[in-house]
Amino acid sequence: MKFDLDAVFVEHGCAGSALATRILRALPRHVPVTHVADARAVPRSASGERDPFGAGKRRMVIAQRKTPFLMACPAGSSSFACCGYLVLTLASNCPMDCSYCFLQEYLADNPDFQVYANFTDSFAELDRLIGNARGRSFRVGTGELADSLALDSLTSISRDLVGFFAARENLTLELKTKTDEIENLLALDPRGRVLVSWTLSPDAIYRSSEHLTAAPAARIAAARAVLDAGYGVAFHFDPLIAYPGAERDYILLIDELLDMVPPKQISFISMGGLRMTPRLRGAARSRFPGDPMLCGEEVLASDGRFRTFAPLRLNLYRTLADRFRKAGAEIPAYLCMEAASVHERIFGAPPSRPAIIGERLARG
């Protein structure tokens, strides 16, 4: 396990679960384990008072999820051209600590790192989904409120997921990560139903802002390895940060990627500019006061978020899109949390409806 935990709490009723058994067996002995009646009653860490969010990342709570696992992507909005992504919430929070991460706002009131012992209940939800929409395909990801693979060496959830999705024609699983934790995946047969996606950033952003993540070169090497093992691969250039010199660095990063992963074998790419609500920006800057990536040329946009001023942001999108275009393969691409008009400017055509994009990305 690469990530340190300060404590593990096990909710009543979860102690005998397969997930808790796996975790407790693999957990280093020095990590204290406490059994609690209710996950909501887990005491706050005294040492984490100055940074409760950071402390929450090191406190795992094994709990029952009482609400549905499957939901529409929380980033979705009628103002944006969305990608039809469905989110399966099997965990909440992440042991890595990116300075720009939206979870600093989204989970501010509930920062403990929760994993859900009853995660296999989500399979029934997924079966209902495809049962009610025969003939349609869906792309479902576990990497929205948590990194899909960060603690896979501890939880081995990927084994259950790959097994389930490999047997479903109309479902594609996307495991989104910034790690190189792929050992479990390499031993499984995804039967074309699973893709692994990496968020990629130039070294400057990785060093400045993406704490505890795998280096970009290690992410690309891991992508090559899972590709060879039969998985699809995709890449998220999100958040794109327009620091001075970013254009050159992103081109070098793409060149490095395409040297390892042929463009024809990339399932899709996505791009999204750095965007922060005022509350998120305040939280991020207070936790990472010295990070220059949080002091870029962002202005308050009409959606209430700080974004890089439009011409600079759109120029960076265009630079990346052109570089992929020149690579000679039509790689499906979409923009995250951008208006349809921006999509049209960058790709030269209006975006399709979210359900259609989702289906296209699911079918590969």
């Binding site: 220059p292 002091c295 202005v299 439009a310 921006v342």
Partner: protein
Amino acid sequence: MNADEIDAQIRELAAGRRLPPSHLARWLAMDPASRAAMLDIARRLRLRTGQLVTALETLEEISVREHVTVAGVLDRPEIRRIAGGPGSAPSRASALLEALRTLRYPRLKKMQEELRSEVSALKLPRAISVDLPSELGSDELTVSLRVRSAAELAHLLEALARSRPGLARIIEMLGGKK
């Protein structure tokens, strides 16, 4: 003046201006040379509370962006010119904030200048307004006409048609095309 005396004077000035405690804390957390340089300029330009808050925030951000101290920023020729130059304290205070903003958002400022110069080169009649998006926060250009007669409308539409290539260039620039 030693560091304790400078801090005492910063506290006194902050109390007089009712500076929010969080901003006072940020000021006092700066290195000694930066604390003193900030005090000096705040006094010389008689910065008001809002101006002081903006200056502190902008200077902090510039120092993080450029890995320099606040004192280093305040020692730049363009800032020294404003601090020691002619004009009233309020006008120099406004000039200081504008100069800091240019340092904080260099590419935005440059782009705004280029776009304004493109708009002005169109030489459109006064009844046509071409408004750039606020802070270039979006890629949308607003063009509005003020007319009182059909003849006036025809005249303005002709002027717009003549300016079409220039307007198209501005729209492309807003969309990030170089």
